[in-house]
């Protein structure tokens, strides 16, 4: 974010330790107005802890949280004016849907007519206006989370925190409510900090994604940034499918260099960062960036290695292959159907896997 307008939320060098474990390790980021930013990471990577620090349920060991450029660490949670949807169902069990959604306005002592109008509006936004009189235990999980979202939006908080709100739902319902969340984000323009461990969900919803690992942000960027230019093997492996091959640098250099595959074959690659000859590296290629052909001598590709087809699965728009290299490693390859004229290769056949050097990523190991 530029220095002009202060960001809605800024985390500055946040650290949180629980005894010997460091749950959040020097996290800094800025969330812009109206942005949908997602924390993506596996279980225990510190996503909830970071969110709880922003909400005020945990105090950071060090670092700061700024909202509109002002630190909120001294503000108690109930005065922070933040909306939050939790991973677990948190509707108030003894209140109806209407009373649940009205609760934030009623503790703010709003007039009755205003509450009534606001609750009706926001229930319409989440398409549950006909459920106002139900109790939480008369709602499905998806409906409960939509009511929770309505309750978090009704008082127009400065921004919204969502901690894996769909984790407890089954896949179909999850996709349906992802659509709802996207629509509601577009309609309200609310700034959202979202947490998930589901990369598809993150890609579908977010403007930007922060990949968490062991309490640190590995990389932050748009979905296509993370997919096309992962800065670490972790991010490359976490977003989308990928093949990793352990290699050594045969010839270091700044611009173009060459690496030695496990078979001994030398391949030219695009040098992303300076590498020393003899260094151990990991070569990453996406399955859809590898082509298959029966001969090595076709024009174009910069590298071709000999493989044997293990498994070919026809998937309609694409064919998914599992192949084995000369050194026994298994690679995944995905070819779009109809792009090449070749008929799908059968398992047991020898072939060449080839790729452009521009499609490879090299990570130091």
């Amino acid at each position: 974010m530029s220095g002009r307008a202060p960001c809605v939320v800024s985390l500055r060098n946040l650290v949180k330790r629980f005894g010997a474990t460091t749950a959040v390790d020097n996290v800094s980021l800025d969330v812009g107005e109206g942005e949908f930013l997602t924390f993506l990471g596996s279980s225990g990577s510190g996503k909830t802890t970071t969110l709880f620090i922003v909400a005020g349920f945990e105090d950071p060991t060090s670092g700061d949280v700024l909202v509109d450029g002002v630190s909120i660490l001294d503000v108690p949670p109930h005065l922070r004016n933040i909306g939050m949807v939790f991973q677990r169902y948190t509707l108030f069990p003894h209140l109806s849907v209407f009373e649940n959604v009205a609760f934030p306005l009623s503790v703010r002592r709003k007039p009755k007519a205003e509450i009534e109008a606001a609750v009706t509006d926001v229930l319409r936004l989440v398409r549950l206006e006909t459920y106002a009189d139900r109790r939480p235990n008369q709602l499905s999980g998806g409906q409960q989370q939509r009511v929770a979202l309505a309750r978090a939006l009704v008082y127009r908080p400065r921004f919204l925190l969502m901690d894996e709100p769909l984790a407890a739902l089954d896949k179909r319902l999850r996709e349906e409510i992802q659509g709802e969340i996207r629509r509601i984000h577009q309609e309200t323009g609310v700034t959202v900090l979202y947490v998930t461990h589901d990369q598809e969900e993150a890609l579908r919803l977010s403007d930007r994604i922060a990949v968490f690992s062991h309490g640190r942000i590995e990389q932050i960027g748009t979905g296509s940034d993370l997919y096309n230019a992962p800065r670490s093997a972790f991010v490359g492996g976490f977003i989308g499918n990928s093949n990793f091959i352990s290699c050594t640098v045969a010839e270091g250099g700044n611009d173009r260099c060459a690496i030695r595959m496990p078979s001994g074959q030398i391949c030219a690659i695009r040098g992303s960062s300076p590498m020393a000859t003899g260094q151990l590296v990991s070569l990453m290629i996406r399955p859809e960036r590898i082509g298959l052909s029966t001969t090595a001598s076709q024009a174009g590709p910069d590298c071709a290695i000999k493989v044997r087809i293990c498994e070919a699965t026809f998937l309609g728009e694409s064919v998914s292959y599992k192949v084995t290299t000369e050194w026994g490693q298994s690679l995944a390859i995905r070819e779009i159907t109809g792009k090449s004229q070749d008929v799908p290769l059968n398992s047991g056949v020898d072939a060449y896997a080839r790729w452009h050097s521009a499609d490879t990523h090299i990570f130091a190991t």
């Binding site: 909400a55 005020g56 109930h78 939050m84 939790f86 948190t90 609760f103 934030p104």
Partner: protein, 266 residues
């Protein structure tokens, strides 16, 4: 189920017989007392030669019995209120607290259930003599509170344990102060546990006799204490009538608790 009664063949009749015997063992004394209270034999003949409501009339027209019923009810109600008021913060401490010795404290809170009543009664007697509350209303309340508190704390802390703290957090992030969140969200959500704790506390005081015997004065006697002292002088069916009233009251309260439990399970 592996051990379903339907699969046990002849064996299940043995099971039914054992069940029936246990039930009879538990119920017979109660039925026996109730039958005697309606019998017209002054000497508690069984089975009663005839039926009468005479003994109930005797109870209701005797100011000493009415007095004792009122004393027991008043002590019970005050104990009930105090047990809940003290039990609530104690339950929050043992369930939510993060401090050294929490489990020890929890065990300490329920220890009056484990210590033999007589020992508790003697200790209270000695202590109350010294501070001068023996035979007073305050003494009864304090003594009964000791045995009622474990019931209240167990009921309330069980309810609090099953209540998801995230719900309270949701109320706070919605703008409720911690006190508002507890008052408007947490307490209503665990109200069935609080009510059960209150009723059990009342019952603990209502039918308590051992501590009562030590603390009682001629002017101030709870119902069980008056029954006991009456019985010592004179075996009369009036006591059977009072017992039946006491049992009826207990059954009503337990039924209320059961209904609350069922509602909550739904």
């Amino acid at each position: 189920m592996l051990l379903s009664p339907n699969r046990m063949g002849g064996g299940r009749f043995v099971l039914y017989t054992i069940g029936a015997l246990v039930m009879a063992f538990l119920l017979l004394p109660i039925i026996f007392i109730a039958a005697l209270s309606f019998g017209d034999s002054r000497w508690l003949q069984f089975p009663p030669p005839g039926w009468t409501l005479q003994w109930y009339r005797d109870v209701l027209y005797d100011p000493r019995w009415i007095d004792s019923i009122l004393v027991s009810a008043k002590v019970g109600l005050v104990v009930m209120v105090l047990a809940v008021l003290l039990g609530l913060p104690a339950s929050f401490a043992v369930v939510r607290g993060r401090f050294f010795g929490r489990e020890v404290l929890r065990a300490f809170f329920i220890s009056p259930m484990i210590v033999p009543l007589v020992i508790l009664a003697i200790a209270l007697y000695g202590f109350f003599l010294r501070v001068g509350v023996n035979g007073s209303f305050l003494g009864f309340v304090a003594g009964h509170l000791v045995i009622a508190l474990p019931f209240s704390i167990i009921c309330i802390s069980n309810a609090l344990e099953t209540f998801d703290e995230s719900i309270e957090r949701a109320a706070v992030i919605c703008g409720a102060s911690p006190a508002q969140a507890i008052w408007r969200i947490t307490l209503p959500s665990i109200r069935s546990g609080i009510l059960a704790g209150a009723l059990f506390s009342f019952l603990a005081s209502w039918d308590e006799v051992v501590i009562g015997i030590f603390l009682a004065s001629p002017e101030l006697q709870t119902l069980p204490v008056r029954m006991w002292s009456t019985l010592r002088n004179d075996l009369t069916p009036v006591v059977a009538a009072v017992s039946t009233l006491l049992i009826a009251m207990t059954i009503v309260i337990l039924a209320v608790v059961a209904i609350i439990r069922r509602d909550r399970a739904r």
